[in-house]
Amino acid sequence: MQNDETVLKVDDLRVYYATSEGDVKACDGVSFEVRSGEILGLVGESGSGKSTATSGVLRTVGSPGRIVSGRVILDGDDILQLADEAMRKLRWQKLALIPQGAMNSLNPTMTISAQIADVVETHEGRQPQQVLQDRIYGLLRMVGLPARIYSMYPHELSGGMKQRACIAMSIALDPKVIVADEATSALDVVVQRVVAQTMLRIKNELNVSFIMIGHDMGLMAQVVDRLAVMYGGQLVEIAGVQDMFATPAHPYSEILIDSVPTLTERKAMRITEGITHDPRNPPTGCIFRLRCPYAMAKCAESRPALTEVRPGQSVACHLWKKDENGNYVRASV
């Protein structure tokens, strides 16, 4: 089950997009680890760099974007240094993707079983018919789909079923890490729950790790083990999900958690003002300072480093300082 063994380590990853007015730093020095058998959530608003960061991990950054620097260590290899052919083999086998709008990524002219078979045979060569068939039935069972899906076409399935078919495909080669990019966002709440619970079951049964990209804090609370928060291309906080919700350390995490409306208590919603900066022209110092309710003079001067302020909880914010005993405390403002 979940332990502290690191399966994927991302170190100071930078992905920039070229524009006529200079680079947009969509992923600007992002570092995190994914542990064995955990779901790591990656949240932030649109344009915060969550999908860009993972496209760097998967090496799928397309022009005008480019990976500028950084390391992505999977199984001892820096995958940013691998030759293209080695990288092609590694995809699906060690690192799989459930893309955003996965249900539209299925080939409409192939049956579900043929698409899964395609993934398997491309990587492992021709398989005896019976072996392949049993394996596909096993995968469908694993994601809770009935056996008759085997010979159906994508248009015959509902959105939630297509999404689960994509999950079946992603686990076909027993990968170490699966990146799920907004895998449930286009689904209705009941179907979303079914798909999310399928992911949880797979995590437990196969001990696979997930990076789950999303923007719904409620869903994150239900599904992930640890949560990383991104803003403006930078990772501003990472913590266990319990700590993140109980004691968020970064002002932006705090706002994100406060702005989730609940179904149990009718109360005034927290309204945040301030302008999101132009990504071509980010502010000096802290990336969040233009929207931060606690911004100080120091925040304009230097970028705060990601620092572990409590066990397992790291934050990039100048409010946190060491006291005389050497413990980190957050300045009260």
């Binding site: 008759r148 509902s158 709440v189 239900q222 919603m269």
Partner: protein, 321 residues
């Protein structure tokens, strides 16, 4: 003059042939009083018919059966003049705050169009004052936004500008179809807050079309939950959401992920493989195939809305007959 703003009388909307087509809304009746202003939420999953109701009220398409009365007059029997007035009184705010703008024009242009089309002001300073007033009502200032292009504003600001544009016409009713679903979570509150303010200070009622029950709970006065074109349950938003009665609504509310890692979903749910067929010829409760409490008669008979609580809290389920 009727005391009702809207009377929706046995309205059905069927796409395709009347006997075999797809039922988007079935035998729906509802009245919206002129006063006090209120926020009425229409919620349900994709394909439940919630946007269809909004379109019917906007007069984008006629109902297949039934009538919609606005201040006592059938909206499909309007004179030209009544049509023009109607489109002034009933405004719309749509889901996508990025697609509704022409990227070549400054924000000022959005407002100039309204002022010119409806001849709202006879001088430039008067127009400027009206625009400023409308922007202030949504928490913006003309100096900050009017000279800007749409791409220079956040999704939240663009959506509030659309609401400001709608309020210039002093409407009685705004159909807001998923107005916050494309706006980042941290900026949603500002839009919802504007809706409540317009209800309380300007007497504007809203039809808030959404799939997000938590925002409906926070700002809605009444809620109508649709399932495959039929009303599963309706009543005061607080009553329905804190004490749901219809098995579908119970499942729906239980499935909304709670923002608390210590409060997980209660157990796993199973979904039937196929979507239930929903042509006009289909009979029985629409939720039959998925219902954990189904009875033999639910397959054949259509449940009516039965009282399940105070203030017209009703659910269409034989459990409450």
């Amino acid at each position: 003059m009727s005391e009702h703003l809207f009377e929706i009388d046995e309205v059905s909307k069927i796409y395709g042939p009347e006997d075999t087509g797809l039922v988007a809304l079935s035998h729906y009746s509802f009245t919206i009083p002129e006063k006090p202003a209120r926020i009425i939420t229409i919620a349900g999953e994709s394909g439940s018919g919630k946007s269809t109701l909004g379109e019917l009220l906007l007069r984008s398409s006629p109902p297949t059966r039934g009538r919609i009365l606005f201040q006592g007059v059938d909206i499909w029997k309007f004179s030209e003049r009544q049509k023009r007035d109607y489109h002034r009184h009933v405004q719309a705010v749509f889901q996508d705050p990025f697609g509704v703008y022409n990227p070549f024009y400054r924000i000022q242009h959005v407002f100039d169009m309204v002022v010119n089309n409806y001849k709202l002001a006879d001088s430039k300073p008067a127009a400027r004052n009206m625009i400023e007033e409308a922007l202030n009502a949504v928490g913006l200032r003309g100096d900050d936004v009017l000279r800007k292009y749409p791409h220079q504003l956040s999704g939240g600001q663009r959506q509030r500008i659309m609401i400001a544009r709608a309020t210039m016409l002093k409407p009685k009713f705004i159909v807001a179809d998923e107005p916050v679903s494309m706006v980042d979570a941290s900026l949603r509150a500002s839009i919802l807050d504007v809706m409540m303010k317009l209800r309380d200070e300007h007497g504007i009622s809203f039809l808030y079309v959404t799939h997000d029950l938590s925002t409906a709970y926070q700002i809605g006065d009444q809620i109508i939950l649709l399932y495959q074109g039929t009303v599963a349950e309706h009543g005061k938003a607080v009553d329905v959401i804190s004490n749901p009665k219809h098995p579908y609504v119970q499942l729906l509310i239980e499935s909304v992920p709670k923002p608390d890692p210590n409060d997980p979903w209660p157990g796993e749910v199973e979904l039937p493989a196929e979507e239930a067929f929903r042509t006009a010829a289909a009979t029985g409760c629409r939720f039959y195939q998925r219902c954990p409490q189904r009875m033999p008669r639910c397959e054949k008979d259509n449940p009516e809305l039965y009282d399940v609580g105070k203030d017209r809290h009703q659910a269409s389920c034989f459990l409450y007959e």
